[in-house]
Symmetry: C2
Subunit: 349 residues, 2 copies
């Protein structure tokens, strides 16, 4: 339990301890002979530099702070595990670790934790997710000039480093795929209009509808909490519409709503992917097993976790903003059975 210090290494290598420090940190060239002696001593004694002392002197904690909004009850976060693991791995390679702390819904309390971590010197930077419009954390960190990188965007006029999935493109691809399958009356299951992520994804819906010359019918767009129940209920209501209005496809902004929609369709004795196509978003592993399996949009989570950390570490090392300061990652449409093309007969009618 008694730790080896740099002085013991120095004594064994017959140099001053400061020289050991410099050699270890590659701050100076010494005689090959000396260097060898030092490394030998390090190895023989099993010396590992004390993190705290190093951190105190160099004013770097080699620690990255992260918190995220907990999954609402009744859902699981399909990307959390992979996102965290990819960040841990990328950070470790650069000699960093992640400090995870609780998420507080209340803005003031939330900021308190961030400022605590900054003022006590526990972290060198933050990764932000669960970002919304007017996110107070972004204003605060920009004001403090404290390094951070977001997974996701905030308001368009706020400039900060982030990586985001191109949700617009993802939904655009979904709609395009549906149209190519002969679908014409396309509905959507979305979040409320104050959802940053939701609006981004819906932009792809509107763009595609416009591009393919399809009318957007406001009655076919339902907004609510993005869970299974809402998807079920909203889709059930769509199915009550007179057959002239009833959608032949439903784009859901996440997989849970899509699963709810599929259940509602099946309850009516219809088959998702036949009478009514359904698409989701996220590619929750479970959806490949549904009957029919769900067409959805997959986000390259591992890449995102990696990039987000790399961007932050760039900021820490170079002390300037990354260039480009932000980037969008294209997601991938995974086509399955829930969006089979409309039979030719129907498509030509």
């Amino acid at each position: 339990m008694n730790r080896v210090t740099i002085k013991e290494v120095a004594a064994r290598a017959n140099v001053s301890y400061q020289t050991v420090s410099k050699v270890i940190n590659h701050k100076v060239e010494v005689l090959p002979e000396t260097e060898e002696r030092i490394w030998a001593a390090v190895k023989e004694l099993g010396y590992k530099p004390n993190y705290t002392a190093r951190s105190l002197r160099s004013k770097r904690s080699y620690t990255i702070g992260y918190t995220w909004s907990p999954t609402p009850h009744g859902l699981t976060n399909p990307i959390l595990d992979q996102f965290l693991q990819s960040m841990f791995h990328t950070a470790e390679q650069a000699g960093y670790y992640l400090l995870c702390f609780p998420f507080h819904e209340e803005n003031e309390r939330q900021l308190q934790v961030y400022s605590e971590l900054i003022d006590t010197g526990r972290v060198d930077g933050f990764i932000l997710s669960s970002i919304e419009y007017k996110d107070p954390r972004i204003a605060y960190l920009l004001d403090q000039k404290f390094p951070f990188v977001g997974f996701g965007r905030s308001d368009d006029d706020v400039v900060f480093p982030y990586i985001d999935v191109d949700g617009e493109l993802g939904v655009y691809q979904s709609v395009k795929h549906l149209v190519e399958g002969g679908r014409k009356k396309i509905g959507a299951l979305a979040w409320p209009e104050d959802s940053r992520v939701g609006n981004n994804r819906m932009a792809g819906f509107f763009l595609a509808m416009d591009e393919f010359g399809l009318p957007v019918n406001a009655d076919l767009i339902a907004r609510g909490s993005g869970n299974y129940e809402f998807g079920y209920q909203a889709c059930d209501e769509l199915l009550q519409l007179p057959s002239s209005l009833r959608p032949d496809a439903v784009v859901a902004l996440n997989d849970y709503m899509a699963m709810g929609a599929m259940a509602a369709i099946q309850k009516q004795g219809l088959i998702p992917g036949k009478e009514i196509a359904v698409t989701g978003f996220d590619d929750n592993p479970i959806v490949q097993y549904l009957r029919p399996s769900l067409t959805t949009v997959q986000q390259p989570i591992w890449d995102i976790g990696q990039k987000v950390i790399e961007m932050l570490i760039y900021q820490l090392n170079e002390e300037k903003m990354p260039d480009p300061i932000c980037s969008l990652i294209p997601p991938k449409l995974i086509i399955r059975q829930s969006s089979l093309p409309r039979s030719m007969k129907g498509g030509m009618a």
Copy 2:
């Protein structure tokens, strides 16, 4: 960005900085008047003690290390988010944060990371999960006398602090419930015999079968990787058995296998919960939405995360093992449609 130090506080309060330290840490009694002056200065300057300096001197990092085995591809970990959040909250209340680091499958590399964190003084203790038989981390940490608490057990003869879900009780309850519903030929979908968690849960199966006087038929017990595909395939094979042998209920050791089993049953034109009952384990939020909804065993994850942290902090503060050194938490059987009682006619036959 210039941080306030304890000396500035001292200057403003007209005392020595050491006195400020003592007052802040409640190490000494001073005149109420002086104390007031100090706290006022702290507040006015917004002083937050530098974590690194404090940590260097007091040899405590106020940090807890944690890593976990990443979810295999095609699955999501239904309890990860809640487990982490509950630990973060509990730790925060005691002034601790969690340091999360990557999981390495290879034993030696894995231990390297643990020893690195210990030797550099980055953490005061660990929480362990994904524990298996002969877990090298446990041997190592016990040998180093480094504080840790496990979520889960290892070999029976290894004594260390842990909290575990009573998987045996959970499966026992499942079987009991099935028997009470008139089921007699009960099969199981399990992990391989080298799975610590699996064997614990299966113990409940055997206990219940024995207690209710039902024969255990080895042909009705399938073992494999606990995913959807295995559940599907194994159950499909059970359904091929001649009707005299075919099970009227299947106990799966997790929800994914249960979902696979339900799909296999449905493929045969049968209804889970009618001809063949199915139960799972974990209460993945999704299973309440399946048709039929899945009977399963729910683990009180929030409580476990809390307890595990409390046990560790007890060790850190008291410098002795918690008493009792380990405890089992009873899980809760959630009864849904996949395990409806056999119709009386069938039950009496």
